[in-house]
């Protein structure tokens, strides 16, 4: 019986991992053949011309994700702190928690349309800023809820220790509770980051995409997922290959940035720290 259970568990594990591995192998196989220096340094070539790359889309994605993180991470962490520390048990905190959960389930295309109405229409144009706002709002619920969970996991005795030393509540919150919960909070931020990094739908109505160089915040900006979307739907083989390469680069960039943050934030951890 025990044997059967472990066999089932192993089978299930393989079933879960298999699609991921298959996607990755396919991606590497089809993507690497089109990867060259031009891909990283050139902007897309006009239809019919050979070559061209996605330099503008890589930079554009970086700009969009930077904007999104700047908006989503501080707001998400602040909301999480409110939920776990200040608003515990209040009506408002229940409303906030429910809203965050609903926001998490809102289809990303709806988020794009909403930001179109809230930012693009008043500012009379698609812009990098609008794209960043759309992605940033999508990050908030994940960051807020993980921050809340992680703060609640910090033992009450640790908070009491800080208060007992004559440390003001806000200071104990920032320097003790949040710091103790930091590894988990960072994981939440990375999850949110990785999720929005691949989003296409909310960018269609906001960042719009751009075939040319632009890093201006109030102009339409290129993004890897958008570029992949456009190229994959095109009738040209050359563009299909570029779309594969773009997908591989997008995944690689996400993995690299998440690992980098992990490495940097866990570097200073002490022996025996839990």
């Amino acid at each position: 019986m025990n044997h059967l259970a472990s066999v089932l568990a192993v089978l299930a594990t393989i079933l879960v991992i298999a699609p991921l591995v298959a996607i990755f192998i396919d991606l590497v196989y089809k993507g690497t053949s089109s990867l060259n220096l031009n891909f990283f340094t050139k902007i897309p070539a006009p239809v019919g011309e050979e070559g061209g790359g996605m330099a503008n889309a890589i930079v554009g994605s970086a700009v969009l994700l930077g904007l999104a993180s700047l908006l989503g991470i501080p707001m998400g962490i602040a909301a999480g702190i409110y939920l776990a520390e200040y608003g515990r048990g209040t009506k408002l905190s229940n409303v906030v928690r429910f809203t965050a959960d609903v926001l998490n389930g809102v289809p990303s295309i709806v988020m794009g349309v909403a930001v179109y109405a809230l930012v693009v229409v008043p500012s009379k144009g698609y812009s990098a800023l609008a794209g960043g706002v759309a992605l940033g709002i999508m990050m908030i619920p994940t960051v807020a809820r993980t921050t809340e969970e992680m703060l609640l996991m910090v033992p009450h005795s640790i908070r009491e220790a800080a208060l007992g030393l004559g440390v003001p509540t806000w200071r104990s919150m920032v320097s003790i509770t949040l710091k103790t919960a930091m590894p988990g909070v960072i994981t939440g931020c990375m999850l949110a980051f990785a999720r929005v990094a691949g989003e296409t739908a909310p960018l269609i109505f906001t960042a719009f995409g751009n075939q040319f160089w632009s890093t201006s915040l109030n102009q339409p900006i290129a993004a890897l997922p958008l570029q992949i979307y456009v190229y994959a739907l095109s009738p040209y083989d050359e563009w299909h290959r570029l779309a594969w390469a773009g997908s591989l680069v997008l995944i690689a960039l996400i993995v690299v940035s998440v690992s980098l943050v992990r490495y940097v934030t866990t570097r200073g951890v002490l022996k025996g720290a839990s």
């Binding site: 640790i158 800080a162 007992g164 030393l165 004559g166 440390v167 002490l270 022996k271 025996g272």
Partner: protein, 252 residues
């Protein structure tokens, strides 16, 4: 130097539960005062009222007067100021897990804005020596987390942390109840040395411990203080029948 504590008709509640009823007593300076009694008798609540930790519980409420060194801690100064003057050691060792041994001891000063490295170094060394932990940890002060120490060492680290902010009073809420006998003996030795400089109030379940370390002992039962006298008197010739019953192990 330690200061004396004057408590006048102190009452405390948890919600509607009247956990402390009309406590009045005088705790002299530079002595160890033990509080004994069965679980739930209010002795922990009592010490938590002495540094205003009781009110950090949303349903906690306090009335009455507590004067520490002549200062009314409920009206003359803020709760934060009170806790800086009156250190506390909790039942379970609670070092900050993400901090090194050094940072744990320095935390009280650092979190209140002190930055001078030389002063911090001095304070950390002095506090750890006071807490009889220096020799065991001096080589990995900044390398090891406070949480990597043994339970007894962690508790002495917490004592050092409390001493580093230079309090006048040290409250200890069953500081040895989670420790083995050897670590307990070390903590008790420590109390003897510490009362030269601090006034100590120690809550304990262990009557032998009260008899060993304290000059005075108070017996609590059901939220009331039944008897408060010299430890010798409480353990050899108590005035109240209930104290005698508790001491002799007839209940509790």
């Amino acid at each position: 130097m330690g200061v004396s504590i004057e408590v006048n008709s102190l009452n405390a509640w948890y919600g509607t539960n009247h956990t402390l009823q009309d406590i009045t007593l005088h705790i002299p300076a530079n002595e160890a005062t033990a509080l004994i009694g069965p679980s739930g008798c209010g002795k922990s609540t009592f010490v938590r009222c002495l540094n205003r930790m009781h009110e950090t519980n949303p349903i906690g409420k306090v009335t009455g007067e507590v004067k520490v060194g002549g200062v009314d801690i409920y009206s003359d100064i803020s709760a934060v100021e009170v806790r800086r003057r009156i250190g506390m050691v909790f039942q379970r060792p609670n070092p900050f897990p993400t901090m090194s041994i050094y940072d744990n001891v320095a935390s009280g000063l650092r979190l209140n804005g002190y930055r001078n490295r030389r002063v911090l170094d001095e304070v950390v060394e002095r506090s750890l020596k006071h807490a009889a932990l220096w020799d065991e940890v001096k080589d990995d002060l900044k390398k090891k987390s406070g949480a990597s120490l043994s339970g007894g060492q962690q508790q002495r680290l917490c004592i050092a942390r409390a001493l580093a902010v230079d309090p006048e009073v040290l409250l200890m809420d069953e500081p040895a109840s989670a420790l083995d006998p050897v670590s307990t003996a070390k903590i008790e030795d420590l109390i003897f040395q510490l009362k030269v400089q601090y006034t100590i109030v120690i809550v304990t379940h262990n009557m032998q411990q009260a008899a060993r370390v304290a000059e005075r002992t108070g017996f609590f039962l059901n939220g009331k203080m039944i008897e408060f006298d010299s430890t010798h008197k409480i353990f050899t010739n108590p005035s109240d029948k209930r104290t005698e019953d508790y001491i002799t192990g007839r209940f509790g």
